[in-house]
Amino acid sequence: MNFTINVWRQNGPKEKGGIATYKVSNISDDMSFLEMIDVLNEQLIIQDIDPVVFDHDCREGICGMCSMFINGEAHGPGRGVTTCQLHMREFKDGDTITIEPFRAKAFPVIKDLMVDRGSFDRIIQAGGYVSVNTSGNLPDANATPIEKQDADAAFDSATCIGCGACVATCKNASAMLFTSAKVSQLSLLPQGKIEASERVMNMVKQMDLEGFGNCTNTGACEVECPKGISIENIARMNREYLSASITSK
């Protein structure tokens, strides 16, 4: 298969970027999208052109590092996949493919397709944890039974990989899906309930400080989320937030 690749090139956060066009050929349909980029980069190096910088690591859809906006969709066509799980068989021979970084005020471009998602780390640092120290003397893991339904729901929320597709997709660049997934996971479990009020207040505050927009319930984030994180989480966070603001001391 042969493709025309339009890719965003930008040298640094402060520099002006633009689309560059390259051709790639002899791409097999079994290749992953990132392997296609590898081929492109090998070709660029031989031509003395700087290779395209992009984030990637596990290449099995779990680390959340890859972050490409392909033909106007976060992680490209198809549901429930990250860019690294996208295969070239999803495209037609001769297609023109346009690749841009995840764009949001709180995700400044570092170079080319690589963005800075440190804002996500700071949201977690604001309260996405249970305040428990390491200790060999904690209660036995089975001391507090947890209803299977709650444990499963907490797990579903906890599967967020922090890639930022939700933000890149949202017209408001909102991080509500990301933040609410962590808030939900911990508020569904007895271990997380104790700090629930403080947690939701602090995490939402940090989210706003970072410059993420608000949620207007378009539901686009849920559609593009590679892990199928549900917008029910946002509803749960809103409820938690409301009750926390009423009862906060």
Binding site: D38, A126, Y129, L138, K148, D152
Partner: protein, 668 residues
């Protein structure tokens, strides 16, 4: 040959750790505030160690090359984590976990370390649950367990096929809490490129800021390497693209011995290689072997027909299938340890029974599980005389609930539906049991330098059991290092801040800079990736699932030629002082090119077969591994010498087994 002191405490096996802990010197809270610790890597071992040490009051700097600590490759571990909780009342105990691990490792690990691992395993589960890790639960609300290879109990805790993710996010949350408190300084997108040794002690690192390209100096009283394994030396592996040996190799070049580097785990259930430009391999969790049955056609002509697309596996009747693991190992069947399962797959494929285009794949079939679950579910639902379709539907639903995400992953990669067609799998490089040599306190041969998790060699011998890597990473980080690092630091309370303007820091920074300039100035014609791919081919063919003297000698010669070619012909664009991922990759591949040679030397020196190390010269008539305990019951610890991996010196740590009898591992 010098004698290595493993510093194993006195006393009976079960008492060693407790006694050791109660006797070790402590550092007072006020003094902890004066002490700096560097933690390199933020996977399970690194995040848990950084968080725990910060909670104790030390000043911690945590480094990772990814953009966030949450992305370390522990995140990709699927199946589960072992712990001797005996919740299932199936006869599990600390001793049994210890025994299974020693036996599974083919009697090439240290008794005392392994027993300690088994002892702290139960606390890990308590810790994770307290952090809010959502483990799988039963309807009664209690934790669920499943079985893994090489054991006959159910002691594996899991969170669907994403256990590593959930545990890492737990450790990451503990780390984030300390970052918020200002106890940990987080340096993401940083890569360690040199170790700094001052007066014989590890006192800091040179790290490259991967965004600005700047070389930074960081000093500390102790350095912890939690940098994972080096499976990417094979190019194709289940490791992440960025996983590398650089930090460990720099430490090795500065005096840390590498132990048993040839002990590599080839995981039996991975998605087979599909093409030449493939960049990585994807694992299908071992947990699938709980319910999946592995087979190839009994007749070679059927295998050929399948390869050529003339026959479908579902058309082959039961009697024409060879469930070779069940045939060869009736006691453990499909749940034999990984090394045994991998070799058995290779044996069948080499004999011409492989079932994909390349001839390197076997089937992992869920049809009997679907039928069994379906019938059970029909019975529960009170459906009398259910038809085949009903059973299949019900069964598929149960398989989906257990392995849904894995099946989905398989379908995405291969474009085949594993509910209808058996999965195709083949072994792939997954984990390295070898690593930096450490004593009982996890300290390397460089004082003040520690190695935790997969980066060290200590607990898995020649083969790691499934679900034990997560256990070891968290054991080292949460429950071992916080004590043992403190013991070392108790001598450092009056040292004061370590300056970074010393000659040693100058020298280390210059070394790193010269090396990078070397790559940039080589003005060659070949991209880094191509050298890595070539190295991988040599390693996989000569130092992979089966090894022999001739092949290993050839590999050593080939690697040396490739390494020379790399230095004269590598092409890296750009500069040091800017973001330059190709330059980072060049540094990593250069280190793999040295490590590869050492691995082959180690494999050559170990004239026996044990665990993942299978020397073709040493096998029984039935093709089983033949161990030589009288000659090789030792840890091979290699010292770097004369700036040439080929000149490395071998030191032996004799292993003594006082609590288990050395038996031929049998899973029949």
């Amino acid at each position: 040959m010098s004698k290595l002191n493993a510093n194993i405490p006195e006393g009976s096996l079960a008492e060693k750790w407790t006694k050791h802990k109660s006797k070790i010197p402590l550092v007072s809270p006020a003094n902890k505030r004066q002490i700096d610790i560097i933690v390199v890597g933020t996977g399970l071992a690194g995040s848990s160690a950084a968080a725990s040490l910060a909670e104790l009051g030390y000043n911690v700097k945590a480094f990772c090359f990814q953009d966030s600590p949450r992305r370390a490759h522990s995140i990709a571990a699927q199946g589960g984590i072992n712990a001797a909780k005996n919740y299932q009342n199936d006869g599990d105990s600390t001793f049994r976990l210890f025994y299974d691990t020693i036996k599974g490792g083919d009697y090439r690990s240290r008794e005392a370390n392994v027993h300690r691992l088994a002892e702290v395993s139960a606390s890990i589960i308590d810790q994770c649950v307290a952090q809010g890790v959502p483990f799988a639960r039963e309807y009664g609300g209690l934790l669920d367990n499943r079985s893994f290879g090489g054991v006959q109990v159910s002691r594996t805790f899991y969170a669907k096929g994403q256990t590593g993710q959930q545990l890492l996010l737990g450790a990451y949350s503990a780390l984030s809490r300390q970052v918020a408190k200002g106890r940990v300084e987080l340096l993401s997108r940083h890569e360690m490129v040199e170790l700094v040794v001052v007066n014989g002690k590890a006192r800091g690192i040179i790290a490259r800021n991967l965004v600005t390209g700047e070389l930074e100096r960081h000093s500390a009283h102790a350095v912890l390497l939690c940098t994972g394994g080096y499976g990417n030396v094979f190019y194709l592996s289940t490791n992440a693209m960025g996983s590398n040996v650089t930090a460990a190799w720099k430490a090795h070049r500065k005096g840390a011995y590498m132990a048993n580097p040839c002990f590599t785990q080839i995981h039996p259930t991975c998605i087979p290689v599909s093409g030449d430009s493939q960049s990585k391999l994807t694992l299908m969790s071992e947990s699938l072997r709980n319910d999946g049955r592995i087979w190839v056609p009994k007749k070679a002509e059927d295998a050929l027909a399948i390869r050529e697309g003339r026959l479908k596996p579902t058309d082959l009747s039961e009697e024409n299938r060879d469930y070779y693991l069940e045939r060869r190992y009736p006691a453990f069947g499909n749940l034999v340890p990984r090394d045994v399962a991998s070799r058995a797959a290779k044996e069948r494929c080499d004999a011409g029974y492989g079932i994909n285009k390349t001839g390197e794949a076997v089937y992992l079939d869920f049809s009997s599980a679907i039928e069994r679950f379906g019938s059970e579910a029909a019975h529960v639902k009170g459906i009398k005389n259910p038809n085949e379709n009903q059973i299949k539907k019900l069964g598929e639903r149960i398989v989906e609930s257990k392995y849904g995400n894995l099946f989905q992953m398989y379908e995405k990669i291969t474009a085949q539906n594993p509910y209808k067609m058996p999965m195709m799998i083949y072994p792939a490089v997954h984990y390295t049991m070898g690593g930096i040599w450490v004593d009982y306190n996890l300290m390397t041969t460089v004082p003040g330098l520690f190695a935790l998790g997969e980066a060290n060699f200590s607990d898995h011998g020649a083969n790691r059991l499934g679900a034990s890597a997560l256990m070891q990473g968290l054991a080292d980080g949460y429950f071992v290092a916080p004590y043992t690092v403190g013991t070392y630091l108790s001598q450092d309370i009056t040292t004061g801040k370590i300056p970074t303007d010393s000659a040693e820091f100058d020298e280390a920074e210059a070394t790193a800079r010269n090396r990078m300039n070397g790559f940039l100035n080589s003005k060659g014609n070949t991209p880094v990736e191509i050298f890595h791919r070539d190295l991988g081919k040599i390693m996989w063919s000569q130092c992979g699932m089966a090894r022999n003297e001739e092949g290993l000698k050839k590999a050593i010669a080939d690697i040396r030629i490739l390494r020379d070619k790399f230095y004269s012909d590598v092409k890296v664009l750009g500069k040091i002082g800017e973001m330059n991922p190709e330059l980072d990759k060049a540094g990593r591949v250069a280190d793999f090119l040295e490590l590869g040679e050492l691995m082959c030397m180690d494999a050559l020196a170990r004239e026996e077969s044990c665990g993942g190390h299978f020397r073709e010269e040493f096998q029984s008539k039935e093709g089983e591994a033949v161990r030589k305990d009288d000659e090789f019951a030792f840890v091979a610890a290699w010292e770097f010498a004369e700036s040439d991996p080929g000149k490395s010196k071998l030191h032996k740590e004799e292993l003594s087994f006082e609590n288990v009898e050395l038996n031929t591992r049998s899973y029949k």
